[in-house]
């Protein structure tokens, strides 16, 4: 039974067309999203791990090494079961920084385009045997099907023409599959679905072979068991596993392959859209799939032995079909190899092409992407070219090796080659001290050993046994060569990597990247400032590198991703925008080129590179992360939340500032006081706050005083609440070191915290108290006032009676004059009272103006003298009549009323109260002195406190001196009290007031 070449080629094209149809329908959405995005599809797509080595090569391994063939699967099983060790941290890196290949990851970690280029070149070379293996399987399978069992005579011949034909077909389909999306940010749904479909096809084909072997060859499971009992030699192939070191070496090789092989890396990370698929489904799903895939291998191998088939062991499946004369079995065996090989080639070349473009072409061209042409189209064509070159490279390698080496040997060459990247991957996640020099040195040495021991013997007559002085067991057998090559290359690689990394310093950028890669929280950039201030400026600058259209697209995409507006200007937001653009470009152009473009077009301001950590970003990430912290991490997170809540709910406004004036905190009370929401200002500069807060906070933050006790805020809106807004401000520096005091921290321009207290309520209360006190004073004066007014009124009444009978005009005029004099007196008294009662109305505004000090004192004295029930004391006003102070005269009157009233109360009858003033440059000092009982020294600190009084109950409110203090502070003055002045029973008291001096302006004088 045989098939014509045309039939087989048509079958291949038909199969790949079906595959393309699946991808096309998935991309178009004809296949529902709930299917294409189902975790099972992702898990099945990871089945790309099982290439032609799984469908064909493992039969040879099973025959030669018994159960040890399972190590091929168990390496990958270990990697996925322990996904949290390597895969999850890598996925986190890849997702956040849009890294789509191992070269991207290592370039990002070691911050060097040279690393990317070296990894890419090394990867291409190590993968050539794997590509050649796939091509060889399909070409030989075609030949066997076309030539039937006669292949036995031509097994040594190369099927070059068939291989080339297959390569051409697969190039076309790889291009169709792989280059639909240019950015790794978008999941290639079609590709994932098609590869998952291929995995199912592969599994189904192998199960057809399984059942064909069990029921077609052994007549059922019992038949198989009986045959094994009758043929102990065949059963015993299971009992000749590899030596322990070889088995462990093989396990390590395939373990590393599950993360280092570019096609597996691509499907695992670049095509992952939900980490749960990797973290959950694949940890058991992929092991289950691989177990099912490996289940048919032993029965198929035994069936081949029983049938005494003469084909190479790798093609046992085909042989069974041909010997049994079953088209279905032959087709199934062919399809198993074809689907495995095509999936591996398509994904491998796609991944390698991306690496070549991002790490070889773009960096080498010095970022000279033609801005006039569409960036995305240019990238697509580059990738297509590389896919073609790589498949042809695999074909040429297939020609060069000339059929030397079995499938398992070719596979092992490739897997041991990629094993050399494992130290880099592990160091990326777990060793921050590693550096690029160490990586490149170790990798070069490891690859050199691999080249000599593994690759060279395949296409030359070189025998690795000649190097047995390096590895004594090298001479024994092929198994020893693999083990020696793998272990020796890895040991040299790791040792050199470690030694060179320890001995040579790492670049500053590498250190930052190492922190990012090895920390749990990936976004820990320092808070740096940008020279640009808006997204439109970003696009403008990026246009020089990407072209105008692509630059606008990338900026818009990043804005959409972050849900920012296009007029965003907050530094915090712009930093995030820059990071997002870099991540997106990294997915498009690779991390090295993206980093370089961003550094060139959107650089950070160099003077602020030593910025503190971006608290906003860290907090945001911690809040958003749904990790289950355990142990101390959980305790720390709880503490963080507790302190955060404490600060947020403090009944006082808290805002903290970075050294560049960026707002790092804005708590709820701050929101209430200012009416500005936290999300609107966090991450902004202080300069961008709306008025009047911008001026208030900027001046206070930059000023010399650490506290402002009282400040009225002038708001534009005219509602009642804002009209009377009074605040007090306090400031402290958040020193980086606990030993630094606040003053030097301020000088060093450290971060600062500003407390804003709303004292409007107490201010209102104070005003009301002042008013009450005033009314109380008026009440106390009422009797005196009645008496004062009563006398002139009586005089007026008498004069009016006399006037009734007076006829003499001269006398009448005289009387009228007397009446006017008396009414003037009444008017003055009434006016004084009215003035006093209106002193400092509820508006609370202090209007400072030049005020004559002596007049003010006189008025206070005359008001106090209205109270006839008070002690008769002598008030002596010694103030200079020309002395003018800057004060609110009405409030100053209240001050003197209170002070002189207190002085009078403290004196005995006929006591003396003197008021004197002198000017010292810009200040006027007014001393109010009495010879009263004085204040006891231990009470001096309390006299200015509200409600403190030494008078008997009912005689004093205890507000007098507190109001004096408050009013003097409002008028930019001060008050001090000294007592006793002398000795004896009446030592006296002196209250000294200080006020700014002033002079009447011309307007005033006129």
């Amino acid at each position: 039974m045989s098939y014509s070449l045309t039939q087989i080629v048509l079958f291949i094209v038909a199969y790949l067309t079906v595959l393309f149809g699946v991808a096309y329908l998935a991309d178009r959405g004809t296949i529902p999203k709930k299917v294409t995005h189902h975790p099972a599809v992702y898990v099945l797509s990871l089945g790309v791990f099982a290439g032609a080595l799984a469908t064909n090569g493992t039969i040879e391994l099973a025959y030669n090494y018994g159960y040890s063939f399972l190590l091929y699967y168990l390496g990958a099983v270990m990697m996925f079961v322990m996904a949290t060790v390597l895969l999850m941290p890598l996925l986190r890196l890849c997702r956040i920084y849009q890294l789509s290949s191992l070269a991207d990851v290592l370039t990002f970690r070691f911050r060097s385009p040279r690393v990317g280029a070296a990894i890419t070149i090394a990867m291409c070379i190590t993968l050539l045997p794997l590509l050649a293996l796939q091509i060889q399987v399909v070409a030989n399978s075609i030949h066997i099907l076309a030539g039937g069992a006669n292949f036995v005579e031509s097994s040594g011949q190369r099927q070059d023409g068939l291989a080339l034909l297959f390569c051409i077909i697969i190039i076309v389909f790889s291009i169709l599959f792989g280059t639909r999306h240019v950015s790794s940010q978008h999941r290639n749904t079609g590709l994932v679905t098609a590869i998952a479909f291929e995995s199912l096809v592969k599994l189904a084909a192998l199960f057809i072979l399984f059942f064909a072997s069990i029921y077609g060859v052994f007549d059922g499971f019992n038949g198989l068991n009986e045959w094994l009992v009758q043929n102990p030699d065949s059963h015993n192939i299971l009992d000749k596993p590899m030596r322990g070191d070889s088995a462990r070496g093989l396990l390590l090789i395939f373990f590393a392959g599950a993360v280092c092989m570019p096609h597996i890396f691509h499907m695992t990370f670049a095509e992952n859209t939900d980490s749960r698929d990797l973290q959950h489904s694949s940890t058991w799903g992929l092991p289950l799939y691989l177990m099912l895939l490996s289940l048919p291998i032993l029965p198929v191998t035994w069936a081949g032995i029983k049938l005494e088939q003469s084909l190479p062991l790798e093609y046992t499946g085909l042989a069974i079909g041909l010997i049994l004369g079953s088209t279905q079995i032959s087709v199934a065996a062919f399809v198993a190899g074809l689907s495995a090989a095509s999936a591996t080639i398509i994904v491998t070349t796609l991944a390698l092409a991306n690496m070549c473009v991002n790490h070889l072409v773009l960096p080498l061209r010095g970022l000279q992407i033609d801005p006039d042409k569409n960036l995305y189209t240019q990238l697509k064509w580059m990738r297509r070219s590389f896919i073609t070159l790589l498949i042809l490279g695999g074909y040429i390698f297939h020609l060069v090796i000339g059929g030397k080496g079995s499938l398992s040997q070719l596979g092992l060459v490739a897997f041991i080659g990629t094993l050399q990247f494992l130290p880099g991957v592990v160091a990326t996640l777990y060793w921050p001290a590693a550096n690029r020099k160490g990586l490149l040195t170790g990798l070069s040495a490891g690859l050199a050993v691999w080249f000599i021991a593994m690759l060279l013997p395949i296409f030359s007559n070189f025998e690795p046994q000649s190097l047995s002085f390096l590895y004594p067991t090298w001479l024994e057998d092929t198994e020893s060569v693999w083990t020696a090559a793998a272990m020796l290359s890895l040991a040299i690689n790791t040792a050199l990597f470690a030694v060179v990394s320890i001995l040579t310093p790492a670049h500053a950028e590498e250190v930052i990247a190492a922190d990012i890669c090895s920390m749990d929280d990936l976004n820990r950039p320092a808070r740096q400032l940008l020279s640009l201030h808006s997204p439109s400026e970003f696009a403008e600058q990026l246009a020089s590198a990407l072209g105008e259209s692509a630059a606008n697209d990338e900026v818009s995409r990043a804005l959409t991703d972050l849900q920012f507006n296009s007029d965003e200007s907050r530094p915090y937001a712009l930093r995030r925008l820059r990071n997002r653009i870099e991540a997106n470009l990294s997915g498009l152009l690779g991390p090295a080129v993206a980093h370089s473009i961003l550094n060139r077009c959107i650089p950070f301001r160099p003077e602020l590179h030593e910025g503190t950590e971006d608290i906003n970003l860290i907090e945001r990430n911690l809040d958003r992360a749904q990790m289950k912290f355990t142990g101390m991490a959980a305790d720390l997170d709880n503490l963080r939340r507790h302190y955060r809540q404490t600060l947020n709910k403090l009944p006082i406004g808290v805002c903290s500032l970075g050294r560049d004036g960026e707002l790092l905190m804005w708590n709820r009370v701050m929101e209430n006081i200012t009416g500005i929401s936290a999300p609107a200002v966090l991450g902004s500069l202080l300069d961008s706050l709306p008025q009047p807060w911008r001026d208030i906070l900027t001046k206070f933050a930059a000023g010399e005083e650490d506290s402002v006790m009282k400040l009225q805020v002038g708001l534009n809106n005219s509602d009642d609440k804002s009209r009377g807004l009074w605040i007090s401000l306090h400031r402290a520096a958040i020193a980086a070191s606990a030993d630094t005091d606040s003053a030097s921290a301020i000088e060093n321009n450290e971060d600062r915290v500003i407390l804003v207290e709303d004292i409007s309520h107490s201010e209102l209360l104070e005003e009301e108290l002042i008013h009450s006190e005033r009314l109380a004073s008026i009440g106390r004066l009422a009797a005196g006032v009645a008496h004062e007014i009563g006398n002139p009124v009586t005089g007026i009444a008498c004069l009016a009676q006399n006037l009734e009978y007076e006829t003499e005009p001269t006398e009448i005029r005289h009387m009228a004059h007397d009446i006017l004099t008396q009414t003037d007196r009444v008017s003055r008294i009434v006016e004084s009272l009215v003035n006093f009662s209106h002193t400092g109305s509820k508006s609370g505004e202090t209007r400072l103006s030049p005020s004559n000090l002596a007049d003010c004192v006189d008025e206070a004295i005359s008001l106090l003298q209205l109270d006839h029930e008070a002690k008769p004391v002598m008030f002596n006003n010694y103030c200079d009549r020309e002395l003018v102070v800057l004060a609110d005269s009405q409030r100053l009157l209240q001050v003197f009323i209170n002070l002189l009233g207190n002085a009078r109360d403290a004196c005995q009858d006929e006591g003396q109260v003197s008021i004197a003033a002198n000017r010292d440059e810009d200040l006027v000092t007014i001393d109010v002195e009495d010879n009263g009982s004085g204040v006891q020294p231990h009470l001096l600190n309390q006299v200015f406190e509200p409600f403190f009084t030494t008078k008997d109950p009912g005689e004093g409110t205890g507000l007098g001196l507190a109001l004096v203090y408050s009013i003097m502070e409002d008028m930019n003055g001060s008050v001090h009290l000294k007592s006793p002045l002398g000795e004896g029973e009446f030592p006296g008291t002196r209250v000294s007031l200080q006020l700014p001096s002033s002079a009447y302006t011309e307007d005033f004088l006129i």
């Binding site: 159960y67 399972l70 099983v77 079961v81 322990m82 949290t84 060790v85 999850m88 941290p89 996925l91 986190r92 997702r95 956040i96 094994l228 059963h235 299971l238 009992d239 596993p241 939900d274 980490s275 749960r276 973290q279 959950h280 489904s281 940890t283 058991w284 092991p287 289950l288 177990m291 289940l295 032993l298 996640l429 777990y430 749990d520 992360a625 749904q626 990790m627 289950k628």
Partner: protein, 58 residues
């Protein structure tokens, strides 16, 4: 890094029991699919382990 403690425990137990498992698998006259029984147990353990972790940890 958040390495699952259950996973470490399983790996430790597997390491300790490895000689017994190996002997059990290669016991003469044993069924050829014995290794798959162990494999199945690993799959069940992995499935059981992931059930308790349902959040997206990225």
């Amino acid at each position: 890094m958040y390495i699952n403690r259950a996973l470490l425990l399983i790996a430790g137990i597997a390491f300790i029991l490895f000689p017994m498992i190996e002997e059990w698998i290669s016991h003469s006259g044993s069924q050829w699919y014995r290794p798959y029984q162990i494999w199945l147990l690993i799959i069940i353990a992995a499935y059981w382990n992931q059930r308790s972790r349902s959040s997206d940890e990225l």
